[in-house]
Symmetry: D2
Subunit: 353 residues, 4 copies
């Protein structure tokens, strides 16, 4: 009810504020007998970690996950997996300047109005630091789903878009550059763009595309819990996301039925895939692909006017160490959320078969 | 779990197939003491009803809702509100031609693979007829939320877009034309477009924009159940929807932070509203607005090749009475789902205050 | 949230008041491909039906269930099963005398205080008539669980107890007498007792014992959703129930561990079964058995003082047609709830295996 | 789904094994702005703690709770409260003798069969150590509910029962003796009984009675989530519980309606309270009282035959440090679970008012 859990069968509950003692979570419903690859989990966290490259925030946080339960002899036992990540490098004093101030386009104002109290340090619960917990759970979900391949990548930064369909991209190149764009030429332009933006003390938005391969036929529950509806919710729950589309998406809304319909091959695959691998809310075995829009980070290193608790206009300037563009670090988060959705529906589907 | 319920506090469960005995639903959690305006409920159903104009399907279905429980002396009693709409005018023989055939870009193939059995008549459970039940529940939710104004309208059909911001539109005009576009000049072009498309035996996609006014500050539950995440799921659960964006949406992904930030006025309102009325997943009191993409209807009146259950290619042609464009009839559905989301969060918010 | 649903995987939602248009429900999550035996469903309803014998209420209600969805060619389709039972024989005027009056030990007072409004006709939503919907869903659950045998029976009426362990009873005799007690000698005494009580214008309590055979090992979810915890909730949710115990129950609280422990045989079965077939909240393959206490019906045919809405003392006397003892008609309800619990855990268990 | 969460509005999720790194939990839905009394929380934990007296297990565990999130300046912030209790004093080698052995009337056999793997150290997840997390959450719930008084006490040990109605007891005396029985004469007999049992190397069962005072009218949700149904589930989810009854309970099943009905006073209170403060599943403002049966602890210090994984009979003798009777330490657990149920319904009730 209070919104800190995701999933029904493979359920993640997270807790923790940016500058509290620790963030962490509980995974309830992970099947027993899964031998965990802990390096793979930490490796996903490292993809999300601050300070990993010159185009992301320069905060240094080790982000080491400690597992507290649910694992015995490296195997899951079917009992809840508790874990935490200590908050090692909080510079809380960086935030004393916002104690009384509502930063524009942040959650300061709404948290204060909703709860009457807020942990203002680093955004508290509204900080994207919470997503590290999603990455831990998503990494375990990926191991559960082993044959399903989940590939997210940066598809645009500002006005720089990859100008190729995803089928022409080599996903093994995604990690070969710091912006996580598998098209090297686009990647270079994106990196240059982000550096220029940072120099201006500004930030920039972008989009992430994600492709899910080898998803079995039959995942998804009509009518309200359609597979793409849950994927959409999952993505929209990530900080800074403003939009979600799958398959033909918003372009599909401009098309005619005769052009949009995916005709079948004899084996049940389709000649085209404008459906995006989902029909009637249920996976059809084709690639699932979707696109997620991220707004520019609200904290900029330029002066802005804003208001304080007393409704007075005050001038503020971003301090601390922030990302000029969230997209490179969002890649593992998008993948993690996709993995959580798939793991949930994968288990659910076993129930009815 | 099996996906036929929506909401937690104001919870709708629906049942029914397009050509079964009836469709219907149960609303659990509607507060007691609400005096219902039954005409207003039926009036919402009429907005969704087939046969209402020359640009929608010419099926005739009375779509009269019968309430079975939860209401006494015209007031809600706090107990579940059961209701049904009898399926009066099914022409099931219209569908005998698809008994063995999977229609392209429909849910025939995926339902068959998932369940091993399907009610092929009129799409069965996958038919958009199910949304009539959402409209009933949404109409009650609207009455619960009385001060909140929910205005959806057709913002594009194919390549024809309203070229004005929503603030310049007069929503009282939405119902003045059959395409439900409050901009009369655009409406005329859209209607002409749909008629031309129908003449071709084809279909066309479009978008719906929805504006929520007077939403109280504080609705929405971080971190997974952000208000826009649930709105997104609600919209993506509607048949034929391919995308959702709110506030700046996909355009926001091309912007800089310095341009995107919504600066505050002294009273806590903001000078701009690229946030779309939601910050950190919580409503901030400004207008909430979002856009939903609908693909073109998959059933076209042209010949198409497809496959049958045995994997043989067969030629088929759409029969029955179908919409050339779903958008005009989708307006009340979008509004209904928005009302369900708001009613749910509205009740939830009372719990913690 | 509002309490009208039961189960997660095999989920029943009910609606309806005693004297409204209809009562009914929606079963969501019944697997596809189950061929239904409709006679068996109606037969369960007939076991619960008023007027079936001289020791139950003489109201005449046909209680015929109509299915509205989710079934095609007599098979479940995996979509929600909607159903209703019309309220054919309401004598609402029988209840006009309680419009302003709170009957002792009924729910009149609490419903009025909680909701501010109540449908006073026949107890409205608080009437045990609602349990007919549970019986419908339970009958389907029984068909899903086919190898599991669910046997409830009357184990006491007032001070008359069966003085044998359940292992010595022949459950095929349960339906051979109108009190549903498989021990014929006890049955006769119970029937005589109920008749005598009715003659006094009074009512009497009793207990139901239920034995579940062939339950597979492994059903139940620690730690909060232990199998017996959910069984207990299910039983306590039935009207008039005051207690639940399983296995050794309250007697176990007087025993020593050395006497209470169930020692193993080599095949994993146990020599004794004080555990009641459940250990650590999980079924162990032995018989599950439990006992449910029902209080005497609150409506008696004697004069009683009570209060009206204005807090004035008024004299009232039960009217209408009521049961002198609920236990005979409660047997199919106890079985139905047990079936719902088992169906839910049965499906859940498939998910993790 | 997997059973490690309790509650909807005030929701507790727990994790952790007896001999893992830590046990802990997440409370989601605690309202913001509650100033916490941390001493009171620790004090509840101390009531449950091993080693607190000569009649409980002599294990020494500090059971110090560490809060990880959701609290700022000693106030709840409305975000999830994560906490953990480190497992300081595990003697895991004490359990190596049961690695291959299924202890009688424990959960060893069922966990192994359900999950295919188990953490055998100290019972792993099936250990009652998990209940420490419930006590933490319950202590916070108590602070939320401040006017409601929750009083549990030992009402029997073996055949020694308090022979007075609860109304004659002085609950301020409950903590004055180590068995937590407010009747001093009975307490002395109970303590002597437990000491004698321990000397035999045996264990003994008992009952806990709990009285809830000042519960507001209107808590509870018909029809499935009746207040007593949820209380019953809560109690039955506690380790070793075999039965639950409220109000007249099993005795009520022997009574006549004319004797059982609670007649009203003019102010809406009742002259008697056989209903146990709940009518139609909803609190009526009178005392709620219920009784919980605990079986004798399964681990005894006598030789018993059992089987190992290979189905061979082996002799075993309890080792480690165990309770001769769980009831004294169960008092705070029963109170905690009652507090969790009440907090959940208390918040829920605010939603609909």
């Amino acid at each position: 009810m209070a919104g800190n859990s995701f999933g029904n069968c493979f359920k993640l509950t997270t807790f923790g504020e940016s500058h509290g003692v620790a963030i962490g979570g509980v995974i309830d419903g992970c099947p027993a007998g899964l031998t965990l690859d802990f390096d793979a989990i930490q490796s996903e966290l490292n993809r999300r970690k601050p300070g990993q490259s010159e185009i992301v925030t320069q905060r240094k946080e080790p982000d080491t996950v400690e597992f507290l339960s649910g694992i015995f002899d490296n195997q899951t036992t079917g009992t809840p997996i508790g874990f935490m990540i200590k908050n090692a490098n909080q510079k809380s004093k960086d935030y004393s300047h916002i104690k009384e101030v509502y930063r524009p386009s942040h959650a300061d104002f709404t948290y204060e109005k909703k709860y009457g109290i807020r942990d203002y340090r680093g955004g508290g619960r509204s900080s994207a630091r919470e997503t590290a917990c999603r990455v831990v759970a998503g990494a375990i979900a990926k191991q559960l789903l082993k044959d399903i391949k989940i590939n997210a990548f940066t598809s645009s930064v500002g006005d720089i878009f990859i100008d190729k369909p995803y089928q022409e991209l080599d996903f093994s190149k995604t990690e070969s550059n710091i912006v996580r764009c598998p098209d090297q030429a686009s990647a270079e332009k994106m990196i240059a763009k982000i550096k220029a933006i940072r120099k201006e003390g500004d930030t920039i938005g972008g989009t992430v595309t994600c492709v899910l391969k080898n998803v079995p036929i039959g995942l998804g529950e009509p009518v309200f819990d359609k597979l793409h509806a849950e994927l959409g919710k999952a993505m929209l729950s990530i900080n800074a996301v403003k939009g979600f589309e799958y398959g033909s998406g918003f372009c599909g809304a401009r098309m005619k039925g005769s052009a949009h319909n995916d005709l079948f091959n004899e084996d049940g695959t389709t000649k085209t895939n404008l459906s995006g691998g989902i029909q009637g809310g249920i996976s059809n075995g084709m690639d699932i692909y979707f696109r997620v829009a991220f707004k520019p980070v609200a904290t900029i290193m330029q002066k802005q006017n804003t208001i304080n608790k007393d409704g007075k206009i005050v001038e503020m300037q971003g301090k601390g160490r922030h990302d000029p563009c969230v997209v490179p670090r969002a890649i593992p988060i998008v993948e993690a959320m996709a993995a959580l959705v798939l793991a949930d529906y994968y288990l659910l589907n076993k129930m009815y078969n």
